[in-house]
């Protein structure tokens, strides 16, 4: 079933999803949404890996995806915890107001 669709479309979809995620991550101000955009980027990459792996008849792509999903889960846990702490501290998770690293 997978082979019915040309691989180029998979990569194109992956690229579109990644670009949407990247633009969202840069432009949105709400940390949660930025976070979701990052997840979107990761999943775009996952799609590209799976398609690539299938195309080359290799399991490497699938293995990468497992790792990425694990990392994404961990990141979600840690990231949300950080946001909770930041919210407690500043009563906001608007990224424009979180600029403590300013030089």
């Amino acid at each position: 079933m997978l082979s019915d669709v040309p691989y180029n479309l998979y990569f194109a979809l992956s690229g579109i999803l990644f670009t949407i995620g990247a633009i969202g991550a840069i432009t949105r101000r709400n940390a949660i949404i930025v976070f979701m955009c990052i997840e979107l980027m990761l999943n775009a990459v996952n799609l590209a890996f799976i398609a690539g792996g299938n195309m080359l008849s290799s399991m490497d792509g699938t293995i990468f995806v497992f790792f990425i999903m694990t990392v994404a889960a961990v990141e979600a846990a840690v990231g949300l915890a950080i946001f909770v702490m930041i919210f407690r501290l500043k009563q906001t998770i608007n990224l424009d107001e979180i600029n403590l690293l300013k030089g």
Partner: protein, 657 residues
């Protein structure tokens, strides 16, 4: 015995370590015992070696032992090694003997001082360094001792460091000595290099001596002059004598031991030790003798107008050191060392006596506030009187023999100018010493009632060393009774293995007024004998004239000095202020050096060096203040940067295909 010579310096070193480490925790009695005992043991070893020497033929009266190699470099090596010969054994006996007496005296004198342990630690260190100086068998080890005694001198002058004047005097002594030491060090370098260019890489006396003939006359002259610069610093001669009068800020026994009896004679010892070099350089010899004579007279004249008894004694020391340099300058090394020894006795005694007077007078130093102490402190008075007779050169006392020996040797060597100055100075010596004696011990007591009430003789621990030194001042001269008075001059004979046969004095140099001496002294031996006797009588007459004038001025007509001062007030003023030498030095050297120092501080240090360091900092700060604008703190900005970077990299990779 030869294997044990290293014990001589080691005992005081052990005393120094014990007192230095434990002194604060133990009792004063313990400290005093350790200090005195360590010196006494050294004295015993020295005495044993001396005794053994007497039973050895003169040629084999030399013990030398290298303990270990200190510095080795190719063919050149410097050992830690000791050499005891006739000269160094006498020095050891003087240093440890007089040193021991002064240690004992100090135990009484310093008894109530808070720094008791510190004092004896320094004093033991001093004796150790001094013994290193006189027993070292090479120039480098001698230099270690030379610097070491300078350090101890600094520490002890500034012993009461909470007093500004004392710590300044210490610094002055140290810096002035450093100038001389620089010359000494250059001399060592030059000697080392010039011998080395002949393939002889050594600094050991026993190896320098047989190879000294390799050096050219001009090089030897330069080397010996550089060494003499060192001697003028350490032994307080013109032009570097200025530190010694100020050194009187230290405790009086220190003045006695270091600034009268031992350390200041190091220069004389050094020239005597290197006599084989000096004998090769008649020009240097003349300079030494002339500087010695001029210093003797100059310092004696300043002594006329001082009222502080320790200062009078300090100038007297400078003057007597001048005499010693006259002796070694005319080639009479034995006479110089002889005077060194007798001087150690009577000058050590005079200082200790002065300390005893201070003790009695509640610390008073100005002799205008003294007088009439004769009855109240009889032991001090008698011993002081003996020392005065000895230094004035009254026949029968030790100073007479040694001083006359020097005058005669100066005369017979043909240095008439030097002799004349020295002879006049002998009379001046008698005058200022008796001025001191008479105004301190005779006449009316001018002290305040309160001080007068407290006047008391010092305890036994102080008076016994005085008596022993007085005894030595009385009989110390009899080891060197000249032939003319029926003696054998055993002292000179004992030193013959070091200095060569007696009577072989340096040839007169071109500047000397040779013809006068020939006209006066004649050339025949018989003539010489009678002129020696004549000179002796002459110098005794000069001494008595000096004493009589002092008697006239200070006992018979006490108004005379005042009239004298009024008549020659300008001159008196100049002398009283030590010819303004300190002020001249201050303007010429100190101020210009301070100017250079200020320049280095303000311009080189604060502007250039600090400027470079601070400039680097400012530069970095400037760059940072621009670059930090990139760091906005907005996470999305950073993310944008990353993506932009990724796009550029990927784009580039695609573009290059």
């Amino acid at each position: 015995m030869a294997d044990y010579i290293w014990l001589i310096p080691v005992f005081p070193a052990v005393g120094f370590i014990i007192n230095g480490l434990l002194g604060k925790k133990t009792s004063r009695t313990f400290v005093a015992w350790v200090a005195c005992l360590s010196i006494f043991l050294s004295f015993l070893v020295s005495a044993a070696i001396f005794y053994e020497f007497l039973h050895l033929p003169p040629a084999s009266r030399i013990f030398e032992k290298d303990i270990f190699d200190w510095i080795t470099s190719g063919e050149f090596s410097v050992p830690i090694g000791f050499r005891i010969d006739a000269l160094s054994v006498i020095m050891c006996l003087v240093v440890t003997g007089v040193g021991f007496l002064i240690h004992v005296y100090s135990a009484g004198y310093m008894h109530d001082d808070a720094g008791f342990a510190r004092y004896f630690t320094y004093l033991n260190l001093f004796v150790f360094m001094m013994l290193l100086l006189v027993t070292g068998n090479n120039l480098l080890l001698m230099f270690v001792g030379w610097e070491g005694v300078g350090l101890c001198s600094y520490l002890l002058i500034g012993f009461w460091y909470e007093k500004d004047s004392a710590s300044n005097a210490g610094k002055k002594a140290f810096i002035v000595n450093r100038i001389g030491d620089f010359g000494f060090l250059l001399g060592i370098f030059l000697l080392f290099v010039s011998l080395g260019s002949h393939g002889v890489w050594t600094l050991k006396f026993s190896e320098i001596q047989p190879h000294a003939h390799l050096l050219s006359a001009s090089v030897v002259t330069l080397i010996t002059l550089l060494f003499f610069v060192g001697a003028t610093g350490k032994s307080a001669q013109i032009p570097l004598y200025v530190w010694l009068p100020d050194a009187m800020e230290g405790p009086t026994p220190v003045s006695s031991l270091i600034h009268a009896a031992t350390m200041v004679t190091a220069g004389v010892y050094m020239i005597a030790r290197l006599n084989f070099l000096y004998s090769m350089a008649p020009d240097t010899m003349f300079v030494v003798a002339l500087i010695g004579a001029l210093t003797a007279m100059f310092a004696a004249s300043i002594g006329f107008a001082q009222y502080d008894i320790k200062r009078v004694l300090a100038y007297s020391t400078i003057s007597q050191l001048g005499f010693m340099f006259v002796a070694v300058g005319v080639g009479a090394y034995a006479a110089g060392i002889f005077h060194l020894m007798t001087h150690a006795f009577f000058k050590g005694l005079l200082f200790l006596g002065a300390g005893s007077v201070m003790h009695a007078m509640s610390g008073e130093l100005d002799m205008r506030n003294m007088g009439g102490l004769r009855k109240k402190i009889p032991i001090t008075y008698v011993t002081f009187f003996i020392a005065c007779l000895a230094i004035a050169g009254i026949p029968g006392f030790s100073g007479f023999f040694s001083k006359d020996e020097i005058l005669w040797k100066a005369f017979s060597s043909g240095n008439m100018v030097v002799w004349l100055i020295a002879a006049i100075t002998a009379g001046m010596t008698a005058f200022y010493m008796f001025r001191l004696l008479l105004s301190t011990f005779h006449g009316q007591c001018r002290a305040s009632e309160e001080v007068k009430h407290h006047i008391h003789e010092s305890p036994k621990i102080m008076t016994v060393p005085l008596m022993i030194l007085a005894f030595l001042s009385l009989v110390g001269g009899y080891v060197g009774v000249p032939h003319i008075l029926g003696g054998e001059n055993r002292f000179e004979k004992f030193l013959e293995p070091v200095f060569g046969p007696a009577g072989h004095t340096a040839s007169a140099s071109a500047w000397n007024l040779d013809f006068i001496s020939k006209a006066w002294a004649g050339e025949g031996a018989a003539h010489n004998a009678s002129s020696e006797l004549n000179l002796m009588i002459l110098s005794v007459v000069i001494a008595f004239i000096g004493i009589y004038i002092a008697y006239l001025f200070y006992i018979k007509k006490p108004d005379l000095p005042k009239q004298f001062v009024e008549k020659f007030s300008g001159f008196y003023h100049t002398v009283h202020h030590k010819y303004f030498v300190d002020e001249i030095y201050f303007t010429l050297f100190v101020r210009s050096l301070l100017g250079i120092g200020r320049f280095l501080l303000r311009v080189v240090d604060e502007r250039i060096i600090d400027g470079m360091v601070n400039g680097t900092g400012h530069l970095m700060r400037g760059i940072g203040s621009i670059i930090r604008r990139i760091e906005t703190g907005y996470v999305q900005g950073y993310a944008f940067g990353m993506i932009l970077g990724a796009i550029i990299v990927v784009g580039y990779l695609i573009w290059i295909g």
